[in-house]
């Protein structure tokens, strides 16, 4: 994950202990689910693709299982077997590049969440074909956040504001009595100079944003203005282009918020909102490339606009 | 004193200073980059035996070598700033006002300016003068203790050299 974390926890000494315990748990989860750490469950699974099932820790198993469920719910929009595509584009490395269609189609054949075999009893995971690979980046942070919240709540913490690599998680409200005021990052912050485009008041909820602004191939962007970002559409092998610059989910479950924000971005807001409203435990905000902002029903009129480069639509 | 003897003595002094520098690296620091300044004992000894120029040479060589051997390049800055400033002050006091100060006083003054030099360097590196204000009080108290200790040790060393090795101080 290699993410920057910040913790604001209100409480007494037991709160401090709980905070440290939460940090340790997050590091542990990171070790199990990292795509780069040699001993991680994910790396082991990927190495054994096409060969044999790999026994994993309970938490890894749970996260993979949840991710596959989301794969099904979203009809493949969230697909953790996206790793071969991620590696092909090299977007997390120092040398990202735009691959050819042939290269993409070749790797696309290895992307299919249905080819992941789980053995519930033995807690093993098996990737059916050689060359397949999983990446839990879209969902692991959410799981880690839920664990952190669980640990803090068990210690009696009633008010906290955590930031795990950009995901904002809240427990209770601001100690001064107001709800936590969370800004939603302006996806074109570099151009507008504004940190956020809207503010939302939350309590006991997580706010997760995904967008094309987080990671993209800078060389290409500078030359042609085209953004090849890191949220790949598992159906095409190319960065998702259903017209969104950013998607935000607000939910009391961090793992759901994490998964849904990726799903929303990939599906686009019309289909995405339908799915989210069906699932029912989250609200969403979508920003289109035309700087229009759409929200699900529950958020209508609840967003405080904070910069006028964007238009909040009814 | 004949030249070879002088060079040899300076070499021994510098190596002693290096050892002191190395050892005090193991003592936990009270402030960023700040060390006790035990090596200043050697600065004082050089000052007493030889004079200003030699003392400054010892300081500079000790600082550069000591930091390089310790593996730290920023350390050179801290050592040099502390060492040079304290060396200058000690020289001024020792050479110009010897009767007004005891060795302990001079060493203390040296330790004080050693720390001031290091804090100024830290403030400059970190870009904020607040570092000076925050750590100065603590380091001043440490300087009093170190200074006294340094003075004592210098006194003993000089006495020893004078009596056993018949070196005029």
């Amino acid at each position: 994950m290699d993410t920057i974390m910040s913790f604001r926890v209100y409480g007494d000494r037991s709160a401090k202990k709980a905070m440290n315990k939460a940090i340790d748990r997050i590091k542990e989860i990171e070790k199990h689910m990292s795509s780069t750490y040699e001993d991680s469950d994910v790396v082991k699974i990927n190495k054994a693709a096409g060969t044999e099932p790999v026994k994993v820790h309970d938490d890894t198993f749970y996260v993979i299982k949840k991710a596959l469920e989301y794969g099904q719910l979203s009809d493949g929009a969230l697909d953790i077997t996206i790793r071969p595509i991620v590696e092909l584009w090299g977007i997390t490395s120092d040398n990202p590049r735009v691959p050819s269609k042939e290269e993409i189609d070749e790797k696309l054949a290895l992307v299919d969440y249905r080819k992941v075999v789980l053995d519930e009893e033995n807690k093993t995971v098996f990737l059916e074909e050689k060359g397949m690979g999983i990446d839990l980046g879209a969902i692991a942070k959410g799981y880690a956040a839920d664990e952190a919240v669980r640990i803090l709540r068990e210690a009696g913490v009633e008010s906290a504001l955590l930031n795990l690599g950009g995901n904002v998680i809240t427990i209770g409200s601001n100690p001064d009595g107001r709800s936590w005021r969370i800004g939603i990052q302006d996806p074109r912050r570099d151009e507008t100079g504004e940190p956020h485009f809207a503010i939302v008041g939350v309590a006991d909820a997580t706010v997760v944003s995904s967008g094309d602004y987080e990671r993209y191939i800078e060389e290409v962007y500078e030359k042609t203005g085209e953004r090849y970002h890191h949220i790949f559409d598992p159906k095409t092998g190319y960065p998702a282009d259903k017209g969104l610059m950013a998607s935000t989910i607000i939910s009391s479950s961090s793992i759901d918020a994490d998964a849904l924000s990726t799903i929303l971005f990939i599906m686009g807001y019309e289909e995405g909102f339908n799915l989210i409203e069906e699932i029912g435990n989250a609200e969403a905000i979508a920003v289109t490339v035309d700087k229009e902002v759409y929200t699900t029903e529950g958020l209508k009129n609840s967003l405080i606009q904070s910069n006028d480069h964007y238009k909040i639509m009814d | 004193m004949i030249k070879t003897r002088k060079i040899t003595m300076l070499a021994i002094i510098i190596s002693q200073a290096l050892v002191l520098h190395y050892i005090e690296g193991f003592i936990p620091v009270l402030a960023p980059g700040a060390k006790l300044g035990l090596a200043n004992i050697m600065t004082m000894v050089t000052l007493a035996l030889f004079g200003f120029r030699e003392a400054m040479i010892v300081v500079i060589i000790r600082s550069v070598l000591g930091s390089l051997l310790g593996g730290s390049v920023t350390g050179i800055l801290y050592s040099l700033s502390g060492g040079i400033l304290s060396g200058l002050i000690m020289s001024i006091l020792y050479l110009n006002f010897p009767s007004y100060f005891s060795l302990m006083g001079i060493s203390t003054a040296g330790a004080v300016f050693h720390n001031i030099g290091q804090l100024l360097t830290a403030s400059w590196i970190f870009g904020t003068i607040g570092i000076l204000y925050t750590y100065l009080p603590v380091l001043m108290l440490a300087a009093v203790v170190t200074g006294y200790f340094n003075g004592l040790v210098t006194r003993y060393i000089l006495n020893y050299l004078q009596s056993k090795l018949e070196i005029k101080v």
Binding site: Q185, E214 | Y100, M104
Partner: protein, 136 residues
């Protein structure tokens, strides 16, 4: 070189000098504190911002008093000093605003409910857009 280990007059100067330095540092620490330049104070009546001003010019905080007429004969008097902001007088029935402690930090506010009066400190560039954190 004097071989005695006695305390000499110069030594006393050194120790005094040290005390002076310590004193100066503590003083330096006190005046540093919170950077108050560019801090904006906002006065609201009935939810509307009626006045907004910067607390300091060139790092110096000017002391001033502002009388706010809150309508129907009501008033609150705000005093701005380097110590912070306080409501020093008001003709509301409970005078809770006057009894409120002095505020110094962005985010804090003093409220007078009968007069629908709020005076608050806002960090620079924030105004109503102050957030506790941003999801990125």
């Amino acid at each position: 070189m004097d071989k005695s280990m006695k305390l000499k007059i110069g030594d006393i100067f050194v120790y005094l000098f040290i005390l002076v330095l310590i004193g100066l540092s503590l003083l330096g620490l006190k005046t540093m504190g919170v950077d108050r330049s560019n801090t904006v104070v906002q006065i609201q009546l009935d939810g509307q911002v009626i006045d907004s001003f910067e607390v300091s010019q060139d790092g110096e905080i000017e002391t001033r008093e502002i009388r706010v007429d809150t309508g129907q004969g009501g008033y609150n008097i705000v005093r701005v000093t380097s110590q912070g902001i306080a409501v020093i007088d008001a003709n509301c029935p409970d005078k809770l605003c006057v009894r409120s402690p002095i505020i110094k930090v962005p985010g804090q506010s003093i409220v007078c409910i009968p007069h629908k009066f709020v005076v608050r400190i806002i960090g620079e560039n924030q105004g109503d857009n102050a957030v506790d954190d941003t999801a990125s």
